[in-house]
């Protein structure tokens, strides 16, 4: 019941008489089996990342198969303690997580955090977009910030759940503009779709969410894209970055993979190589393009350093927003 794939695979593996759960050179084609832990329900961004990884790793013959386990809830903070305690030392395992979990750990005052697991690689990111309805008086991001400075309560902004990446970006924009975060009028919606309908119905002044949520409406002319939160201009997107618009903020809603605590250095190195090889393959590049994921590969110590910096930045802004 846990997971159809897992059930079928374990049955098949059991019937074939393999000890399928461990890195085993005797296994077909010398490719290892891996286990992927997804601290979210099937269907979301982390789950899609895991299933796409499984697909690409198998098509590139880097692994012989994988098991995906979903333990969803509370931005990943239900799954994380399980990964830390029950998956300890399993060298063939990975957990998919990302910026959302960093925020959730802080906001939920979770007992565990990401310093307890082993960072392997930051894989992808989705930059955010600041949009307004087509009829809006705001033509540029500067117009938006000017209105925000004049009276933040008159500029209701729609986005995802409170304390999520959209709210965080709004907080960061306001902070750079010198507007107190406590005065912001942020209208959280459960998902991008509902926020989008509030924008199309002219219920709110502006919206912040992942670019992919808005891209089609921007192309159709129903929404105007003011700026994106990427580090540089993106091919095929006719909008400046926030930084070019005079707002010194850059933000990727990043996703990455972690090994459990207590894995050996050899396992860690092998896993890093595996993921690096995958991330540099053409099949992975195609999948990322289809899904509007920007590749922002970062591994090893650089990733650990980035994680520490991002955690500090998110903790500070959540505190300003009154969520931590």
């Amino acid at each position: 019941m846990l997971n159809r794939r897992r059930f079928l695979m374990s049955t098949a593996a059991g019937a074939a008489g393999f000890a399928a759960l461990h890195l085993s050179p005797a296994f077909a084609q010398d490719a290892p089996q891996i286990q992927i832990f997804v601290p979210a329900a099937p269907g979301g961004g982390w789950d899609q990342t895991a299933r796409t990884m499984d697909q690409v790793l198998r098509s590139e013959k880097l692994i012989s198969g994988s098991q995906i386990t979903n333990v969803g809830g509370a931005g990943g903070t239900v799954g994380l303690p399980q990964f830390i305690s029950q998956w300890n030392g399993k060298g063939n395992s990975l957990m998919v997580a990302g910026m959302v979990m960093v925020g959730a750990i802080i906001a939920n005052k979770s007992a565990n955090n990401l310093t307890e697991v082993t960072p392997i690689a930051r894989l992808t990111g989705e930059f955010e977009a600041l949009v307004v309805p087509a009829a809006s008086p705001f033509k540029t991001a500067a117009d938006f910030v000017a209105a925000l400075k004049a009276d933040p309560t008159k500029v209701p902004v729609a986005g995802g759940s409170a304390g999520g990446s959209d709210h965080i970006l709004f907080g960061l924009i306001a902070k750079t503009a010198g507007v107190p975060a406590a005065n912001l009028s942020y209208v959280p919606f459960a998902g991008g779709g509902e926020a989008l309908s509030a924008l199309l119905g002219n219920q709110v002044a502006a919206g912040i969410s992942g670019y992919g949520e808005f891209s089609e409406q921007v192309k159709a002319g129903a929404l105007r894209l003011l700026a994106i939160s990427a580090d540089k201009r993106q091919e095929g997107i006719d909008a400046p970055t926030l930084r070019e618009s005079g707002i010194d903020v850059e933000l990727f809603n990043w996703r990455g993979v972690f090994a459990p605590p207590g894995v050996s250095d050899a396992d860690k190195a092998a896993m890093t190589t595996l993921i690096e090889t995958m991330a540099k393959s053409d099949a992975w590049a195609t999948e990322c393009k289809n899904r509007n994921w920007t590749q922002i590969l970062l591994t090893g110590d650089d990733y650990a350093k980035f994680l520490a910096e991002d955690t500090a930045r998110i903790a500070a802004i959540l505190k300003d927003l009154g969520l931590a």
Binding site: R5, G73, S161, S197, E216, G322
Partner: protein, 507 residues
């Protein structure tokens, strides 16, 4: 006319043997998962997403749509027979449907829900094909203020399920409010009523509550009564399917249900539950057999809500196909399937992916036909379930409820909650508190609260939004009429009955 030629083209896509096979597979699978509480269409489609790497887009969407429609059919079966709703949209069906089953009319309840689902599903799909652009414009005019007023209107429906004592009914309703508030508050990100347990941060699933209160509670109650009276097996009364009188009572309810379900389903925050509540309340108001509600089971109370939930399933596809707006968990996952084909759902979809969209719409019509063919003959088999002796039947229900609940999130915490609620359900049953208001409260309250606070944030604390928006004002007026109207009507009736000739001292 253009629509018709598109539709004809769509049928030519859907009628290929391969696509028909996918449709059959989807509807069968959908019916099966709809029957199981916990395994919903969203989870099933999510687990089947990897299929998008292997087959053509048309095939996978036909499969997904079949699962989606099938689940709406299947969910009602267990609601009616076992009082165990498989889907949140079929909770209302259990209210009258299970009463009918227990008074020997289980076959008729299943038939009216299958045929009503077919009628409403077909009407809804016609709506998707012909009315999508109009409906979506209406749907977008709904802002938080309008949604809040819609919730106020929906709260009127509670009076239909309160039972004999308002105090008991309202108590149940408030218990529902509290359960509905458990979890992280969307507006502020703060946890409420979680007692520091991370498992409660996402709230309690409505299916767990419905199954716990209805099925587990009922089982405990039956167990406690086991030796109190004689064990009787309900005989089948009358026709296996529907009698002429039952047809006459059903068809209007189907149409009314479909008319409610389709537009509310198309609202970005409408969902499938609210139209079922509204339909139930309306059918109870309009029925000439009010005494059957809550006693032997009234067929209108099954026909209306079942039609409403199937029409709303079609309505959900409107914003998804025209705007790329996912308005339910299932739609959101279907949208992510679009993305794995590199198709970006959005306002251009009807133009850029005509094959896919019209093939999908055509296959929905086919799915509806397949589902009714699949479900009607099964009714004879299903009702035989009720001939199982009570101990075995209730043991089976308990196993079924437990396995299904574990399937929702694979969380042992949910099982503890299920059995705690089962005990609560037993006590409520023992002391004659109605359980349905708990469910309605837990679904409506968080929606009403969220929309109210959103409206207030946007308007910067100005209350006038609720009566300055014409749509919101209309909905509030309807709610007011719904609340006050029956009293005034009853008052006038009483006056008329007494009549002018009734002079004091005359008798």
């Amino acid at each position: 006319m253009e629509t018709l030629s598109h539709l004809a083209h769509g049928f030519s896509v859907a009628f290929t043997p391969v696509n028909l096979m996918w449709c059959l597979l989807g509807t069968t699978l959908g019916t099966a998962i709809g029957v199981l509480p916990g395994l919903g269409p969203a989870l099933t489609i999510a687990l089947l997403l990897p299929i998008t790497y292997q087959v053509a887009p048309e095939a996978s969407f036909i499969l997904f749509a079949g699962i989606y429609y099938g689940a709406m059919y299947g969910g009602s079966t267990t609601s009616i027979l076992l009082n165990t709703p498989g889907e949140s949209a079929t909770i209302v069906t259990a209210l009258e449907g299970n009463r009918m089953a227990r008074s020997g009319r289980g076959g008729a309840a299943l038939a009216t829900s299958a045929i009503g689902s077919f009628v409403a599903g077909t009407l809804g799909t016609l709506g998707v094909a012909f009315l999508a652009p109009v409906v979506v414009k209406f749907a977008l005019s709904f802002g938080p203020a309008e949604y809040f007023s819609l919730m106020v209107l929906a709260f009127i429906t509670v009076s239909a399920v309160l039972g004999s004592s308002s105090v008991r009914g309202l108590t149940s309703l408030f218990v529902g409010f509290v359960i509905g508030m458990i979890g992280v508050d969307l507006q502020t990100g703060q946890p409420r009523f979680t007692f520091g347990m991370s498992q409660l941060l996402d709230g309690v699933d409505v299916i767990v509550v419905a199954v716990g209160l209805f099925a587990v509670g009922e089982t405990f109650y039956m167990a406690s009564r086991r030796y109190a009276g004689k064990d009787e097996i309900v005989p089948l009364r009358g026709s296996l399917y529907m009698t002429a009188a039952e047809w006459a009572r059903s068809w209007k309810a189907w149409l009314r249900g479909a008319l409610l379900g389709f537009p509310i389903g198309a609202l970005p925050a409408g969902g499938a539950e609210i139209p079922t509540f509204l339909s139930y309340a309306i059918e109870k108001k309009l029925s000439k057999h009010k005494e059957e509600f809550g006693t032997v089971g009234a067929i209108e109370g099954v026909a209306g809500p079942e039609a409403a939930n199937n029409a709303s399933a079609a309505g959900v596809l409107v914003p998804m196909l025209t705007l790329g707006l996912p308005t339910s968990a299932t739609a959101a996952i279907m949208l992510s399937a679009f993305q794995s084909y590199g198709i970006n759902p959005g306002p251009m979809l009807f133009m850029t992916q005509a094959n896919l969209v019209w093939g999908l719409i055509a296959s929905l019509f086919i799915a509806n036909v397949i589902l009714v063919i699949l479900n009607l003959p099964l009714i004879g088999l299903w009702v035989r379930l009720l001939k199982i002796p009570a101990p075995q039947l209730y043991a089976g229900i308990l196993v079924f409820a437990t396995v299904g609940t574990y399937g929702i999130s694979q969380s042992p915490t949910d099982l503890v909650i299920l059995y705690l609620l089962g005990c609560a359900g037993f006590l409520m049953r023992r002391f004659d508190f109605p359980t349905a208001p708990v469910i309605i409260g837990m679904i409506l309250w968080p929606l009403a609260e969220t929309q109210f606070r959103r409206a207030m944030t946007i308007s910067n604390g100005d209350w006038s939004v609720f009566y300055k928006h014409p749509l919101s004002l209309t909905l509030l007026t309807l709610a007011f009429i719904g609340l006050i109207g029956p009293q005034i009507y009853a008052y006038i009736e009483r006056r008329r009955m007494r009549g002018p000739e009734h002079v004091p001292g005359d008798a």
